[in-house]
Point group: C2
Chain length 357, copies 2
DNA sequence: CTGAAAGCGCTAACAA
DNA sequence: TTGTTAGCGCTTTCAG
């Protein structure tokens, strides 16, 4: 790390920011008229309005938000709580959220948990402090801290990608179980008989749904779910590598592996391939999420395609509805279809002659 | 007198949030003492302090931020302006920023430009409205709107990943030119003589630096920079695909292609491979950024490794320093080394017998 | 249609 | 050490 010297000389303009009084004075009206010109122009005469607007233009006035928030009791800000901001899956969801929120005049405060429970308290406080008008939870559960739940603040909350059991918030998500069943059925139809599952973090509800849907469909197809190999993961890339090592060390490798996230599926795939295992010849791999890179890895990844942008948009829309209408919108379920690509195939024993490997 | 007209209210009353007055009344002190207990406990007697804390505990009081911000003239919020929140490169940078900011008690307001200039105005207003104490710019230029620059608001700004020409903000970035020279020198040392470059968005300063460093080093090595093939990109995945199609259609394909981002390098690589071009045998590919997936694609990607997390952390630290000390910190340059992986090799003509292709 | 005036909840002089 | 007293800048009755 090198440091490039820079001049320290800089004048911080102590210039007092222009307030509504400055504008009012310049336009020769009261502050009330200025306020109305901005909030309800129709209540102001053509004459006064144009004088005010001119004064605003000249002074470069921008209403102070803290004052406005204090008085109006709303902040036009939404808190978006995300488990891990570096997770590839959330990027596009966030973009959808942002699109919709910005279009409706709301700003976004990011609440990154970084997978750490202790980070929650801060955002609970933020909500109780009236810093935001509502919250969008992608975190799988209601943040808590200082002995209270975020939901107890009583402001609108919507959940994305997960439903909170017993909670009353509207939610937007895909059906993890249903999608996972598709995966299982597809794998079975290919002729696989031994299965592995790379899981999400312990207790994660999405992981639970995916795991259960997978196991249930396999059971329905006559396989003993107890014989599925489970490897503990956390949705992130590193844990896919870890799972791959366990797979490689396993005396009896399954021919089909389902990972609860694309990140894990991709790193799993790469790691076993480097060890000489062929995908899909030796092992078929299926992911979940449909992140951008899933179609640029080799082989391209068979996966469940979550409509990430739409999930974000819809979640934001639901929250905005709650914010503006006052009543709680209905939850939404989005389709997440299985996209078949090149990481899956019939097991080698069926497809080709056996060769030393 | 009877201060509490609504005494029989239940603990959870979202109707009227508890204020500093409630706490003061319950603790039998003035609001000033409550305020001091929170801001400067040492100025309050043991006795009063514990009564206040108890009252806070019982009532679940959380100071109203709008009021505090208005009075104290600071928001403990930082605006982070990012060109595109869905860009894989920024995810980890954001995480670094978040880590540092949260550790110092600041919150993050995300300003996603979505690559759209017209989105800037909103964030300029945010700054002028006093919504944030400072701004972190990853956007390559100073946001403008309504006829003014964000910088004119006079609050601390630091830039990340780019230096704004003529601007005086401290910045943290890697040396694009220097890193790009490494790429060129490496490619030349491998024996390549024909080169292609997949660019970033028009006018982007990082692209400029990378392009110039690349071309300059090639010129130094005796190659005519005018013969480099340039394909227009925008850092995103799709443009790598587009560039690949142009590469494939080219009558005289270069044997080495340098892409200004990993996202483009990865999609470029995949697309040409699907058309039967081998990487690195037929064409070597180098990326820039060192995103997580660059080591999980096939072949693994040779790239410039930006210290993404540290870039974010450092940028945040610089801004915090400006925020707290009042003077402007020095800019920082971080090393971004070339990581050689499997997407690069000597050109086929040198390495192997020539075959029809 | 417009202005005066009363705060929103909090902090910071200034007194006591 | 504590309380009193002004506002921070804005919106919003309530009169006019």
């Amino acid at each position: 790390m090198s440091v490039s010297a820079k001049k320290d000389k800089r004048r911080r303009s102590p210039r007092r920011p222009v307030t509504i009084h400055d504008v009012a004075a310049r336009a020769g009206v009261s502050t009330a008229t200025v306020s109305r010109t901005l909030a309800a122009p129709s209540l102001v005469s053509e004459e006064a309005r144009s004088r005010v607007l001119e004064a605003i233009r000249i002074t470069g006035y921008t209403p102070n938000m803290a004052a406005r928030n204090l008085r109006a009791r709303r902040s036009m800000m939404v808190l978006v709580v995300v488990p891990n901001i570096a997770n590839a899956f959330f990027a596009e969801v966030l973009r959808g959220i942002d699109d919709e929120l910005v279009a409706h005049g709301y700003g976004i405060i990011i609440g990154n948990l970084d997978n750490l429970t202790e980070r929650e308290a801060r955002y609970v406080d933020l909500v109780f402090a009236g810093q935001v008008d509502g919250a969008l939870l992608l975190s799988g559960h209601v943040p808590a801290g200082n002995g209270r739940l975020m939901s107890e603040a009583g402001l609108p909350i919507a959940t994305i990608c997960m439903e909170i059991p017993g909670a009353l918030f509207p939610s937007v998500m895909v059906d993890d179980q249903k999608s996972s069943r598709q995966v299982a059925e597809y794998l079975v139809s290919l002729g696989h008989r031994t299965f592995g599952y790379v899981s999400g973090p312990k207790g994660n509800r999405n992981d639970l749904g995916r795991r259960e849907g997978f196991a249930a469909a396999l059971a329905d197809a006559g396989f003993d779910p107890a014989r599925i190999s489970y490897w503990q993961g956390d949705f992130m890339v590193e844990s896919g590598v870890q799972a791959a090592h366990e797979f490689l060390a396993s005396p009896r490798r399954p021919t089909a592996v389902y990972a609860a996230s694309d990140s894990m599926a991709i790193s799993f795939m790469k790691t076993v391939m480097e060890a000489g295992v062929r995908v899909p010849d030796d092992v078929s791999v299926v992911g979940f999420d449909g992140i951008e890179f899933s179609e640029f890895v080799t082989p391209t990844l068979t996966t469940i395609q979550q409509p990430r942008n739409e999930i974000g948009r819809t979640g934001a829309r639901i929250l905005i509805e709650a914010l503006t209408s006052g009543n709680w919108p209905q939850s939404v379920r989005l389709e997440a279809p299985l996209i078949i690509r090149n990481s899956t195939a019939p097991p080698r024993a069926l497809g080709k002659a056996r060769r030393a490997g």
